[in-house]
């Protein structure tokens, strides 16, 4: 089981996102005034400045915008993972999140920009919050 770092609280911006993760929901915000998609979570809309944001649930499908396969790191929680990917995923609702692509045999050869992926919540060895990662579709 993976040992990825857990989010820490109190942290008011990201708490609804992580409460969603516990329920298997990938949540994002939308501005009530300009309808712009807001991500990462904020208390105002960076596009129009309005402060009324609503939380929505993403379908969890998107496209790999870019990625890297990390071969060397000194971070606890990742040293035992072997080569692992870090990716920006563009969700179909229009937001981009940092995540990783999992469920491939060889991350160096089996991940590609433009690849379609779906969110999967990975349980961790320690902590109550599963981490949203992405697995290639089909």
């Amino acid at each position: 089981m993976a040992k990825r770092p857990q989010p820490r609280f109190p942290e008011p911006h990201t708490e609804p996102f992580w409460e969603g993760a516990k329920q298997g929901e990938l949540r994002y915000q939308r501005c009530a005034a300009c309808e712009g998609v807001v991500f990462y979570p904020r208390q105002h809309c960076p596009a129009c400045g309005a402060d009324e944001l609503e939380w929505l649930v993403s379908k969890g499908e998107g496209t790999v915008y870019t990625f890297s396969v990390v071969r060397q790191n000194r971070m606890p929680g990742f040293i035992d993972l072997g080569a692992y990917s870090v990716a920006y995923v563009d969700l179909d609702e229009g937001f981009r999140m940092m995540s990783g692509v999992i469920g491939v045999e060889n991350p160096t050869t089996d991940i590609a920009i433009g690849q379609r992926v779906r969110v999967e919540f990975e349980e961790q060895e320690e902590g109550e919050y599963p981490i949203p990662l992405f697995r290639p579709i089909g």
Binding site: T66, S68, R74, M75, I113
Partner: protein, 396 residues
């Protein structure tokens, strides 16, 4: 040239060692300030402005002023990562122009190598109170190098730039480093495998740190530092060395945006501001001092500053085209850069130092009759939140 000449670099010093055990960051800063003032022919009592990036043990302009025992009329503790010193130079220009000060000191000291700081292979810190960025990114293990690798991957996808082309940056920079005795000593003291010229194949054969970035595309982690003295025109005229004029500066930020283009950096905003103020264009530049944390940093900044079109940097840098003796383009990072000479964590000050050396005729890879230089710093994470600071410098 349209620009007004109100402020100039009059004193410089680069701390000679890259491995300095038993020395503190503050030692390096103060030694460097003393040497830079001597280079200018000025004394402690002349300094009336302190610009500080919150490096060293003391932290900030207030503590540095107290340590030095001076009473500055300007204190500026702008901390924007590696580009802090471009921001400081920009602020010194306008503070001098506004008559708020006459002699400004910028300094840097770091013992990253001796302290074994994992800059590139570490991730977001986990100390301090919980914060929103840590909570959204820490679970993914993006090392600093991986963040830059995200940009290189996308650039290669969009524009077909190749690893071999990017290697041209590493090769040219190493060529310059081998001519710089301090860089040679740096690579020796840091136990580089092979302190010698390199080929594109050497870069491709070096191990992958974060795919697609190879080891020889990554800067070193060193100790080191330096200082720069910037003075008003009236002071500059009486200094020991010819003034190196600051004729334009631009500052900008860039961050992760939904749907944004990761291959365009803050330089796309800071560059035009600086060039417009200076009244010059990229094709007039003789010396390009571009922050080389990684090859990809240089690549996107060259494009964004207008040295070549977006997506065209592969052909622009391949085969060490920007070596000082190639005669083909501006000379790139003629001191050996962060890749092969000096990178204690915030390289921005070294960009100013080598630009000044070139425009004085003091570089170890001197471009004959160098008249104009650009020093562009990139701070933070190229594939995430970062700053760009562009400074244009001119020979007297």
């Amino acid at each position: 040239m349209a620009s007004e000449r109100t402020a100039a670099i009059v004193g410089i010093h680069e701390y000679p060692l890259r491995v300095a055990p038993g020395v503190s960051a503050m030692n390096i800063k103060v030694d460097s300030i003393r040497a830079a003032l001597r280079d200018a022919g000025l004394g402690w009592g002349d300094v009336d402005a302190i610009y500080d990036a919150q490096d060293g043990e003391a932290g900030g302009g207030l503590q540095l002023a107290a340590y030095l025992g001076i009473r500055p009329t300007v204190i500026d503790t702008t901390q924007v990562g590696g580009s802090s010193y471009q921001f400081h130079a920009a602020h010194a220009m306008r503070d001098i122009a506004a008559g708020k000060c006459r002699v400004a000191v910028l300094s840097y000291g770091s013992t990253s190598a001796s302290n074994r700081v994992a800059i590139g292979t570490g991730g977001l810190g986990r100390g301090g109170p919980a914060n929103w960025q840590q909570n959204m990114e820490a679970p993914y293990g993006a090392t600093l190098i991986a963040n830059y690798a995200l940009v290189k991957r996308r650039h290669q996808y969009e524009y077909g730039s190749t690893d071999e082309q990017f290697a041209g940056i590493s090769v040219a920079t190493r060529h310059h480093a081998m001519r710089n005795p301090e860089a040679v000593k740096a690579m020796t003291d840091l136990q580089f495998v092979g302190v010698d010229e390199i080929t594109p194949q050497d870069v491709l054969d070096s191990r992958i740190v974060a795919d697609p970035l190879h080891l020889l595309e990554c800067c070193m982690i060193s100790d080191g530092g330096g200082a720069v003295v910037i003075a008003s025109a009236d002071v500059a005229r009486d200094c020991r060395k010819p003034p190196v004029w600051l004729i334009g500066a631009g500052e900008a930020t860039k961050y992760r945006e939904n749907g944004g283009d990761i291959t365009t950096s803050a330089a796309a905003q800071s560059g035009p501001i600086a060039f417009a103020e200076a009244g010059v264009t990229a094709d007039e530049i003789d010396i390009a001092m571009i922050y080389d944390s990684f090859t990809i940093t240089v690549a996107v900044c060259l494009e964004d500053l207008g040295f070549c079109g977006k997506g065209e940097v592969g052909a622009y840098v391949e085969n060490a085209r920007l070596a000082f003796d190639s005669g083909e383009g501006p000379a790139l990072n003629t001191d050996g850069g962060g890749l092969s000479s000096n990178h204690p964590g915030m390289r921005g000050i070294f960009l100013l130092l080598e630009a000044a050396r070139q425009l004085r005729g003091e570089s170890t890879s001197q471009v004959p009759d160098a008249r104009l230089a650009v020093a562009h710093g990139n701070g933070g994470l190229l594939g995430g939140t970062h700053t760009g600071g562009t400074v244009i410098l001119a020979k007297d």
